[in-house]
Point group: C2
């Protein structure tokens, strides 16, 4: 577990890998921007989109979409929660904050 300047390189690399696929990046971007300005994205606020909504303008098979959601989840970028037949997705604000700080470290 290599550590550099307070950042865990492996953790960051995993996050960037998850964002390196255009389809996944679009999913993430959509989740980030779906939160109403001024409010935090969190599970409590329920500012999320279900899996099928996230794949609407993506032209990938449901199985591929599911795979991408899991990748984002394993990288710690999003969290999920079942709501009836749907699975809602939410950005993890702490991880986003970590990434912000990385690029702000001069």
């Amino acid at each position: 577990m290599s550590n550099c300047c307070g950042f865990n390189i492996e953790e960051l690399a995993d996050a960037f890998k998850a964002l390196s696929n255009p389809n996944r990046l679009q999913i993430f971007q959509r989740l980030v921007s779906c939160c109403t300005p001024g409010t935090l994205c969190s599970v409590e606020d329920l500012n999320g989109l279900c899996v099928s909504e996230l794949g609407e303008d993506l032209s990938v098979a449901p199985s591929t979409l599911s795979h991408h959601i899991k990748e984002l989840q394993h990288a710690g970028l999003i969290k999920t929660q079942r709501r009836g037949k749907n699975i809602d997705c939410f950005v993890d604000p702490e991880k986003v904050e970590l990434l912000k700080q990385f690029f702000n470290s001069q």
Copy 2:
């Protein structure tokens, strides 16, 4: 060329892909942190490290290191400049700014 919320998804994905490899991320992190605080990273300032210096604590073959440098360059994250036998590397502050803004878009 897909565009979302003012961001070019392909461009961002290329940058994240370049940062998704732990070795490349460490190279980038080292370049980012080598700039003296308060100063901008730019070719003019010559606040760079040569290729071999960047690979010192990385335990990869020179050919691999060269490959990674080129990946970072193609993604627009760094710029290079020959100085005698060495090739100096510099972070591109504009690209870093773009990535900052992406994570700051709520």
